[in-house]
Amino acid sequence: MKNQLNLLALSASKIDRRHIQAFFLMVSLVMLVLGVGAPEDGGGNIR
């Protein structure tokens, strides 16, 4: 268990700050296009 936690911590430390920034940028772009776009496929119909 301790080894697994150490492994997890080691993996987390390897995550580059730029990767986190890239992740947030991509999430932001998805939110942006979903927010300003208004296509409709009928999937979220309110009845």
Binding site: F24, S28, M31, V33, L34, V36, G37, D41
Partner: protein, 187 residues
């Protein structure tokens, strides 16, 4: 969901372009990203959380949707110098214009909506889907900006989209596909 493939296509095109330049792919640098998170929050609540969506009156949903879109427009404007962002801004402005002029929602004609849901049986003026409102063309302001375009009937995925949506998809594609050639072979 038709806009998400534009993001994926832009990413792939940008990666291919960066590869042809012999350097790593670079995402666009955007300022004020926090604005997007703040702006999208109310939309997420009123559109994507079914429990909350049913409780909030349409009038409030329209106000929150418009406010959210205004902030997103501001974000696009603040980043308008980025390649593609001007196109995206234009598309967002078109969508905002027609939605603001039609009770805060994107109009869709009963005929177009019928293609998406053949069993559709709701009166005009009812909400349809996430952001749309059923309105006959003659009762729609700026009808040419509405969700009036459809793929061919044989296409397996049917979706109605507006002229603004096309510009938004094109804008985000250009934004992600653009790689600055001036730094070619700089690494």
């Amino acid at each position: 969901m038709v806009l998400l493939p534009a993001i994926l296509a832009g990413l792939l095109a940008g990666m291919a372009r960066a590869r042809s330049f012999g350097r790593p792919y670079q995402l666009p640098e955007l300022r004020f990203l926090w604005l997007v998170f703040i702006a999208f929050l109310p939309q997420f609540a009123i559109l994507y959380l079914p429990g909350l969506r049913r409780q909030i009156p349409d009038s409030w949903s329209a106000i929150l949707l418009s406010a959210s879109q205004l902030i997103l427009l501001g974000f696009a404007w603040l980043n308008r110098t980025r390649p593609g962002m001007g196109i995206l801004f234009a598309g967002a402005a078109l969508n905002f214009t027609i939605m603001a002029a039609n009770r805060g929602f994107m109009p869709i004609s009963p005929r177009t909506a019928g293609r998406l849901d053949p069993d559709l049986d709701v009166p005009p003026g009812s909400r349809f889907g996430l952001k749309d409102i059923l309105l006959p063309p003659e009762a729609t302001r700026f009808e040419w900006l509405a969700d009036r375009f459809l793929p061919p009937a044989w296409f397996p995925y049917q979706v109605a989209f507006s002229a603004g949506d096309v510009l938004i998809a094109l804008g985000v594609f250009v934004l992600l596909a653009h790689q600055d050639a001036s730094t070619r072979n700089s690494t």
